[in-house]
């Protein structure tokens, strides 16, 4: 029973933190340079890992899908199948998982260390709300960066599929692109964007929450970082199911 009470208590704490964060986020928009810096920190620095992962995943899709579709004599659907899989599902989910591992941990440990070295307390003592000055720009930066990273992941992934499916396996290039163009609609793109926005908010919230509430010790910051990855991964997959069910 105590775990239930603890769970509800934690949920309440996260909820209150989110309300405070959203309130301060509105004010944080008054400092666009600080948000731009955080988009660079969280987005640009995750770019290489996202692009490489997107390329390799696309190449694997090219191999697997071509092999599967060949059994049914429908290799013409390669472009359509890979694009839909990437835009609606794999792109948002894999990018979010990579983002949680790369940028989420960096955010949690950075804020956690600022807390451990009294930097957040010092801001508070100087009448500067650390949630507005430190946490909100990082949260907003993450929410904006993830959809952009997802779009890049999707494009590179499709290129990877084309590289292997068309270049190596021999699928017909005209069919590949025309099938994709005909099958992917606005609804599919919107689904991908909504998912990446939700995952961006989720990953960023977990990272800044864990960092802000980390115990002021080396072990505390380490645990906060670990919790960021684990909680993000589980919640991304849970929310992915919920959102997929909603969009179907």
């Amino acid at each position: 029973m105590s775990w239930l009470i603890e769970g509800v208590r934690k949920l309440g704490t996260v909820g209150l933190f989110l309300v405070r964060l959203l309130g301060q986020s509105v004010l944080a928009f008054g400092r666009p340079r600080s948000i731009a810096l955080q988009i660079y920190n969280t987005g640009s620095r995750s770019l290489v890992i996202v692009m490489l992962s997107g390329l390799f995943l696309g190449m694997v899709l090219g191999l697997q899908l071509f092999d599967l579709l060949q059994r049914f004599g429908s290799t013409s659907a390669l472009g359509e199948a890979s694009a839909l899989a990437l835009i609606k599902e794999l792109g948002p989910v894999i990018t979010a998982l990579l983002f949680a591992g790369r940028a989420g941990t960096a955010l949690a440990s950075e804020i956690g260390l600022m807390g451990a070295t009294d930097q957040l307390a010092a801001m508070d003592m100087m009448a500067v709300d650390p949630v507005r000055r430190v946490v909100a720009p990082r949260f907003i930066g993450g929410v904006i960066a993830l959809p952009l990273l997802t779009a890049i992941f999707d494009c590179i992934g499709i290129y990877g599929t084309q590289l292997v499916g068309v270049g190596m396996m021999g699928a017909e290039p005209g069919t590949f692109w025309s099938q994709m163009q005909g099958a992917v609609g606005r609804h599919d793109v919107v689904e991908g964007i909504v998912k990446s926005l939700v995952f961006g908010a989720l990953c960023s919230l977990i990272a800044v929450y864990e960092g802000y509430h980390a115990e002021a010790t080396a072990e505390g910051v380490g645990l906060a970082t670990t919790r960021t990855v684990v909680n993000s991964a589980v919640l991304i997959l849970l929310f992915d199911y919920v959102l997929t069910a909603v969009f179907l």
Partner: protein, 297 residues
């Protein structure tokens, strides 16, 4: 030993009588010009009592020392004064305002009148020395860049670090970091400046520099200073009035000379640095000799 300032605290709270302080603290708390007034404060964390009826007052324009053995809640007292924590019972007033009842906006307005020097400096590690000192001004005032630059360099000059303006915090020594933090604490011209263990880990030269800075800020700018420390010698040189905390309350108070002359057991042990006395050196444990014998058996 410093001479009493015009608003010397010695006048508003009688010195700790020989034998320590066994009287009510109303003398300190009742002072009309008390900038900080702590009245019968009780505070505990996780069932552990930190304060049990703590009362003290800080007079405007004075340097007041809060001393006591490690773990007596000196830093906790600062957190209560700054409104970072709330007392379980009792009242803390700063500039006459009950800090526990202030909404965030008014608490922040009050904090702009009070500077706090953290034990470790707490400099923002991603900003240069210049930007660290400029930080509160950028946040609270819209000064033209040339004016801001002059202001920051003037404060850095006051702590002797104008030449280090472009360095990063990681390039500073402990003493330098604390001086930068001091420059940052005074850049908004606070009326009260609180120092949390300003002498910890400093070499004698840095310690002397910090001592002189605290004194000169008090004398030249009239900044009321609260110094939390357990360095009896350094405090004795600069403080006008001192409180000695132990067991969750004030056990002695007075000018440094009066505290040195006090005969209470806790006071004598603390002032002489003796391991034997009412403040135990050892954390409570069973008899060591008996444990060794039992283990041998």
């Amino acid at each position: 030993m410093s001479t009493a300032p015009p608003a010397a605290a010695g006048g508003f709270a009688r010195a700790g009588e020989p034998g320590g302080r066994e009287r009510a603290p109303s003398g300190a708390g009742a002072a009309d010009d008390a900038v900080v007034r702590v009245q019968d404060v009780h505070y505990g964390i996780a069932g552990h009592t930190i304060f049990a009826g703590l009362s003290l007052g800080v007079r405007r324009g004075s340097i007041t020392a809060v001393m006591g053995p490690s773990g007596t809640g000196k830093t906790t007292l600062l957190r209560l004064i700054m409104g970072q924590a709330q007392a379980d019972y009792g009242e803390l007033r700063v500039f006459g305002e009950n800090v526990a009842r202030l909404p965030r906006e008014r608490l922040y307005a009050l904090r702009q009148r009070v500077g706090l020097l953290f034990q470790n400096g707490a400099l923002l590690t991603d900003l240069s020395v210049f930007e660290n000192v400029a930080f509160p001004v950028r946040e609270h005032a819209r000064l033209p860049e040339p004016v801001l630059r002059e202001l920051v360099l003037m404060k850095l000059q006051a702590v002797g670090l104008r030449g280090a303006a472009e360095l990063m915090p990681s390039e500073l020594s402990g003493g330098m970091a604390r001086r930068v933090a001091l420059a940052r604490a005074i850049v908004m011209d606070p009326e009260v400046l609180i120092y949390d263990e300003p002498f910890v880990g400093l070499d004698p030269i840095s310690m002397g520099v910090i001592c002189r800075l605290i004194q000169s800020l008090n004398q030249t700018l009239g900044i009321t200073s609260i110094v939390v420390s357990h360095d009896v010698h350094e405090i004795g040189m600069i403080a006008h009035y001192s409180y000695l905390l132990s067991g969750g309350r004030v056990v002695a108070e007075g000018t440094p000379a009066q505290l040195t002359a006090a005969s209470g057991e806790v006071v004598r042990q603390f002032m002489s640095g003796s391991p034997d006395g009412p403040v135990p050196f050892h954390y409570p444990a069973g008899d060591y000799f008996r444990q060794l014998i039992e283990r041998a058996r």
